[in-house]
């Protein structure tokens, strides 16, 4: 079956612009995660959605970052007023449910470059 898909695969934007990154999880997966992979910070958790529960936003680095998940499926990560330090690969993952015993399946990521 189809895996996790992310779009765009690459995005170049100018400093100060807003960007939206999209994640389509595996059908039927109720849990969705966003991670960021950067040279300076490594791989870090950003936000987690589980069903209709309030998301765990504890990893978002600043209030310029936000995410939503519509209809329990597609998720969009929005970065406002991008900065050069936002340049990174943004990875999305989904799992059947939010229990840690369930495997997280990752998408191919979106490489964001802020110039």
């Amino acid at each position: 079956g189809a895996g996790v898909s992310q779009s765009p695969s690459n995005k170049v934007t100018e400093k100060g612009k807003d960007v939206e990154l999209r994640c389509d999880p595996i059908s039927g997966h109720t849990a969705l995660y966003w991670y960021r992979q950067s040279l300076g910070q490594g791989l870090e958790f950003l936000i987690y959605f589980q069903g209709n529960s309030a998301p765990d936003k504890s990893g978002l680095p600043s209030d310029r970052f936000s995410a939503e998940r519509t209809g329990g499926s597609v998720s969009t990560l929005t970065i406002q007023r991008t900065q050069q330090e936002d340049s990174a690969v943004y990875l999305c993952a989904s799992s059947l449910n939010g229990a840690p015993s369930y495997e997280q399946y990752f998408g191919p990521g979106t490489r964001l470059t802020v110039t």
Partner: protein
């Protein structure tokens, strides 16, 4: 806060040989999960193996096995009969038993040579 440490930035192994990648972690939790993920150049993270902390038996998946030392907070990955396709970044990761968000180590780049 939980931390995961991978002290080997790069490792190299000859094809068909065995290599061990190291990982240590720090946590005050008693219930948690440990993972090894592989990230090839395609960027897509792939789960290699998983270990539940309450299980004393080391997990094994075909050529991949772990040495889980709970008291020492050590979780190493052994790759036997290495293949060219094993070349990738390998990340050790931790998840508490009550939440699914992963904490990753800095990764080890594995090269496989002929």
């Amino acid at each position: 806060a939980q931390t995961v440490t991978q002290s080997q930035p790069e490792m190299s192994v000859q094809e068909a040989e065995t290599v061990t990648l190291s990982c240590t972690y720090d946590t005050s939790e008693s219930d948690y999960y440990l993972f090894w993920y592989k990230q090839p150049p395609s960027r897509q993270m792939i789960l290699v193996i998983r270990q539940e902390a309450y299980k004393q038996q080391n997990a094994t998946e075909n050529r991949f096995s772990v040495n889980f030392q709970k008291a020492a907070k050590s979780f190493s990955l052994k790759i036997s009969d290495s293949q060219l396709g094993d070349a990738a970044m390998y990340f050790c990761a931790y998840s508490p038993g009550t939440a699914s968000k992963l904490t990753f180590g800095t990764g080890t780049r594995l090269q496989v040579t002929l």
